[in-house]
């Protein structure tokens, strides 16, 4: 039997959830979404001995700027809003970047405010609020757009690198060399990745290219060196045709390819690794809290995620003679 106490918690949570669901979708122009009320279940009160009451400073309000209504963005925004409660408000960007920047100018005068920008266009617009604390997320090429500054930090778009290599090792115990090809500006991330790879006995090769053609060339050129590739979502050096070409090449040459989208499994990717939206939201919240406490945005420019959303292509695994360990069978996905 469920106790009355838990029953009331479930009931209140359900109501809150229903309310949030019933909340009308924001409409253009940007609508401020009020985060559903958060029910805090307090532990049994222990009477303090004699302590003067602390000075309560109201936490800053958080404006969540969302590039568009892409699921990957809006889910992160919702998770954040849920966690932040009344402090949070969500604003969706318009197509016109100039109008977005003008819209954001209203926050310049506000003292107690933090901003979360989800996606590239929101992040680029938020870059103009130099004095405000901005945490950006769901942006891969943050370096190229100069999104990092003293007050502007980010949460990586990539899933947990260590988890990724751990899974790779588990799937392909014999793999020794893997290649990553990106555009310029990812040296730190690559070093982190190389360290993570090394931990599981994999040498990570990195090539920097400037176009999809170079990507294609570099990809094929490295075929003799590596057994697998990790395709990162660097839009600068990828095009649809090149993606298809390198995927075809990989299948023909029996290369293991870790892809950034589950859909690319259909083209012969071995497994896909994507960020977990809740993980993203959690990391963003951490950085917000950090900023709130420290009054400044200390710490790394980019916070990496701890989790990975993994999907394994059983067909490709079989083709590559790879046995899927038991603990990973739950991630198996058969391509369409």
């Amino acid at each position: 039997m469920i106790s009355m106490h838990w029953r009331s918690i479930i009931l209140v949570s359900g109501l809150a959830l229903l309310q949030s669901c019933a909340q009308p979708e924001p409409k253009e122009p940007p609508v401020v979404e009020i985060a559903p009320p958060v029910i805090i279940v307090k532990p049994p009160v222990v009477e303090p001995v004699v302590e003067p009451p602390p000075v309560v400073v109201a936490p800053p309000r958080v404006v969540i700027l969302v590039s568009d209504r892409t699921t990957a963005y809006s889910e992160v925004a919702k998770a954040l809003a849920k966690d932040l409660g009344e402090r949070a408000s969500i604003r969706y960007m318009k197509g016109n970047q100039a109008r977005n920047i003008k819209m954001l100018s209203e926050y310049k005068a506000e003292e107690r405010i933090q901003l979360v920008s989800i996606g590239l266009s929101a992040s680029v617009a938020a870059k103009t609020l130099k004095d405000k604390q901005v945490i950006f997320c769901q942006v891969f090429n943050y370096h190229g757009h100069g999104l990092v500054s003293d007050k502007h930090k980010g949460v990586s778009m990539l899933p947990s690198i260590s988890q990724t290599f751990k899974a790779w090792r588990a799937l392909a115990p014999n793999t020794t060399d893997i290649s990553i090809i990106t555009g310029p500006g990812f040296d730190k991330m690559i070093k982190t990745a190389q360290a993570a790879a090394k931990k599981v006995g994999i040498t990570l090769h990195h090539n920097v290219v400037n176009s999809d053609k170079e990507f294609q060339y570099s990809y094929k050129n490295m075929a003799n060196k590596v057994q697998g590739y990790w395709l990162l979502p660097d839009n600068r050096v990828l095009s649809g045709s090149v993606l298809r070409d390198v995927m075809t090449f990989s299948v023909r040459n029996s290369k293991q390819v870790a892809v950034f989208s589950e859909e690319l499994l259909n083209l012969g990717g071995l497994f896909s690794v994507a960020s977990d939206n809740r993980d993203v939201a959690r990391q963003v919240l951490k950085r917000l809290e950090q900023g709130e406490k420290e009054g400044d945005m200390m710490g790394p420019d980019i916070t990496y995620l701890n989790k990975v959303d993994l999907r394994i292509n059983s067909v490709m695994a079989e083709r590559l003679n790879l046995a899927i360990p038991k603990q990973y069978t739950k991630y198996v996905s058969s391509p369409k």
Binding site: T70, Y73, S211, Y217, S239, G240, S261, L264
Partner: protein
């Protein structure tokens, strides 16, 4: 075809190169003079021309289609090569490593179809890397123009722009941009293969290649040559087989050639095979039908040419031919033959009195008699108007007498019935025996004619056999008259006699009938009764009439008296002249006389026979002032019916009526009636042969206008006035 050959020869004659020209001219001469063309060869020639045309068409279409296919193939290959070079060119744009460059470019050496390949920078001006096959010199391979670069550099298109430029017959230049693409910002989150993700396209350079497909073209041309030779050989074989087939197919037609050639050469005893193929059989039947018709027509023509259409007897031409043959036969020692000449005594009288139809009927009946009595092998002919001839083969003088006598007997029994009249017809026969064949046919004819005249001189219904030395001159015969009359005409020797006419009503002026005479020996003259039949027979009367008119005009001119009027007798033959008005006008002008001084006389019979022909002539000449008189009116079928609408000025009452005027009351009534009706029609009357004063009195009483006769004045070569 012949015209084409002539044109060909004309062109040849204008060409230079004497030797070649002569040879070609000889060839064209041989072609031109090669004789009639064969149908089989013509069909073969047409087939050959058609085959050549088809052959040329097939080769042209084959060549054109293959070239089109090659060109399209080269275009497709070019597109593939552009894609390949796009990929090969990555190191050129991605790395500065010269080894990579060489590696990329060296790949092309394996592909001879690539003559030139160039990688250009983004400006399209600077060559980053290039490849050239061997020492090929590519003409017109100029740098890309601004316009082309602009066209190629467009990125707002779905697919790259490829420009194809054909360089000559076996090279193609292909220019294309090199693109790099990148997925749009934020396009990677939730990347979908199906959804059309925006991509940014950028041109980073250009590929410029020249594809050389001369080898393919050479191969094609070689193969086409082989194919055309094979096709030509097959066509030659086909033509050879066709020739055999055409000859085989036309063989039945060729078989017609021999009978048709014989037919063309005049043989009509030809039969064409009408069996075998349906079409040929039809031709055969048609030809046989035609041959039959030709035979019939030939027979009819032969009949027409050699026979007299009226009597059915042989005609003069055929008779003379056979006579010549017989003379030749006899000259070679053959048995003698006899030439009979028959002359009807009263034919002119029958003709004039009862008309031509009666005359014709008489001739038909006489011919029937001759046929009836002629031996089977003998040849009877109608020689002239009333003259018949007979060539009796293998006869001796005794037999000649027998034959001649049998004809005389036959004619004695013969009676000609016409218009209720029973007429006894007589003829005279002249015979000459051809026993030596030394003379010509016309000589024998003259002998026979002379014999006829001798027989006539002896009396009617008799015959005479020509004997050399005992017979008179052939000049006396009808045959002799011809030369005599021609001589008179030629020497303008006709003599004019004048018989005056008196006016019974006291008319003024002087009127004379002009009479024709021929000069004879001792200042005598020959009267028309002697020479007129011969002149008519020889068709000389119109010449005599013309000469009389001219002489009369001359006399009138010399007289210079417009009151003098001449009345001239004209023959039927004169009116066969085509230019009578012009002739008369010319005579009037030459002699300065007027038409009113001329009265032309024609007998009633002549007028009746040629009523339709004479009416317009009379009308036209009357219009000019000439006057006309109908002679011997009332002798035959006198009728006023035709005179009503016939321009006549005088009626000369027939002499037989005038002669019996005093004795016969019916004649008187007749003459009176004629005069009264003539007066009613405003026609003046003339009485002929007035023999006494009593007659003159009666004529005056009847109202006759003029009278003439020996009683008034006999004909004379001098112009004289009549007794008043």
């Amino acid at each position: 075809m012949d015209r084409s050959v002539s044109q060909f020869k004309r062109i040849l004659s204008q060409l230079g190169g004497v030797g070649l020209r002569k040879r070609l001219l000889r060839l064209s001469d041989r072609f031109e003079n090669r004789g009639p063309k064969s149908l089989a060869n013509r069909i073969l020639l047409l087939q050959f021309i058609w085959a050549i045309f088809i052959y040329a068409l097939v080769i042209a279409v084959l060549w054109f289609a293959t070239n089109l296919v090659i060109e399209n193939s080269v275009r497709n290959q070019g597109e593939a090569w552009v894609a390949k070079l796009d990929e090969l060119g990555i190191p050129i744009y991605a790395t500065d490593d010269p080894e990579q460059l060489k590696l990329a470019i060296s790949y092309l050496r394996n592909f001879p179809e690539i003559a030139v390949a160039r990688y250009l920078d983004v400006s399209g001006k600077e060559v980053i890397a290039d490849y050239k096959r061997g020492d090929d010199v590519i003409k017109n391979f100029s740098p890309l123009t601004e316009e082309i670069i602009q066209q190629l550099g467009r990125t707002d298109v779905v697919q790259k722009t490829l420009l194809f430029d054909k360089m000559g017959t076996s090279r193609m230049r292909i220019s294309a941009p090199i693109w790099v693409k990148s997925i749009a910002n934020d396009g990677m989150i939730n990347y979908s293969l199906d959804a059309k993700t925006d991509e940014k396209v950028e041109t980073i350079g250009y590929i410029d290649i020249v594809m050389d497909y001369s080898k393919v073209t050479r191969d094609l041309n070689r193969n086409l040559s082989y194919a055309s030779m094979i096709i030509a050989a097959l066509m030659l074989v086909a033509i050879f087989l066709m020739r055999i087939m055409v000859h085989w197919a036309l063989m039945p037609l060729s078989r017609l050639e021999e009978p048709l050639t014989r037919l063309a050469n005049g043989e009509i005893d030809v039969t064409v095979n009408s069996t075998g193929d349906k079409e040929i059989a039809r031709i055969g039947v048609a030809l046989n039908t035609t041959i039959s018709a030709l035979k019939e027509r030939d027979e009819a023509l032969r009949q027409m040419v050699n026979h007299d259409t009226l009597t059915g007897l042989s005609n003069r031409k055929y008779f003379v031919e056979r006579l010549n043959q017989e003379i030749e036969r006899i000259a070679r020692g053959g048995v003698s033959a006899a030439l009979f000449f028959f002359d009807l005594d009263r034919f002119k009288y029958i003709n004039d009195t009862y008309g031509h139809a009666a005359g014709d009927q008489l001739l038909i009946q006489i011919a029937g008699l001759l046929k009836k009595r002629t031996r089977e092998n003998d040849l009877a002919a109608r020689f002239g108007g009333d003259e018949f001839t007979l060539l009796a083969y293998n006869v001796n003088p005794l037999k000649v007498h027998e034959i001649a006598q049998s004809f005389i007997d036959l004619m004695r029994e013969f009676t000609f019935y016409e218009a209720g009249d029973m007429l006894k017809i007589h003829f005279s026969i002249g015979v000459t025996i051809i026993d030596d064949g030394l003379r010509a046919a016309d000589e024998y004819l003259k002998e026979a004619d002379a014999a006829v005249h001798q027989a006539k001189a002896r009396g009617r219904n008799g015959f005479s056999i020509f004997e050399h030395g005992t017979q008179g001159s052939t000049a006396e015969s009808g045959v002799g008259w011809h030369d005599r009359l021609k001589e008179v005409l030629l020497n303008n020797q006709t003599v004019l006699y004048y018989q005056p006419l008196i006016g019974l009503k006291g008319q003024q002026g002087s009127m004379h009938e002009v009479l024709l005479r021929l000069p004879d020996v001792d200042d005598k003259v020959i009267t028309p009764g002697a020479f007129m039949p011969a002149a008519e027979r020889f068709g000389l009367m119109k010449e005599f009439d013309s000469q009389v008119i001219k002489k009369a005009a001359q006399v009138l001119s010399e007289l210079g008296d417009p009151q003098v009027v001449f009345s001239l007798n004209l023959s039927e033959q004169f009116f066969s002249k085509q230019d009578i008005p012009e002739f008369l006008e010319d005579v009037m002008k030459t002699h300065q006389v007027v038409p009113e001084q001329f009265i032309f006389e024609l007998s009633e019979q002549q007028v009746l026979r040629h009523l339709d022909e004479l009416r317009p002539i009379f009308a036209e000449l009357s219009e000019r002032g000439f006057r006309f008189a109908i002679d011997d009116f009332g002798a035959g079928f006198g009728s006023f019916k035709y005179i009503k609408d016939f321009k006549v000025d005088f009626l000369k009452i027939d002499s037989t009526l005038i002669e019996h005027l005093a004795m016969d009351s019916i004649t008187r009534v007749t003459v009176r009636s004629i005069v009264e009706v003539a007066a009613e029609l405003n026609i003046q009357t003339i009485a002929k042969n007035v023999s006494d004063e009593a007659c003159v009195t009666i004529l005056q009483e009847f109202g006759v206008d003029f009278a003439q006769g020996n009683h008034i004045a006999a004909p004379s070569d001098k112009l004289s006035k009549a007794k008043s």
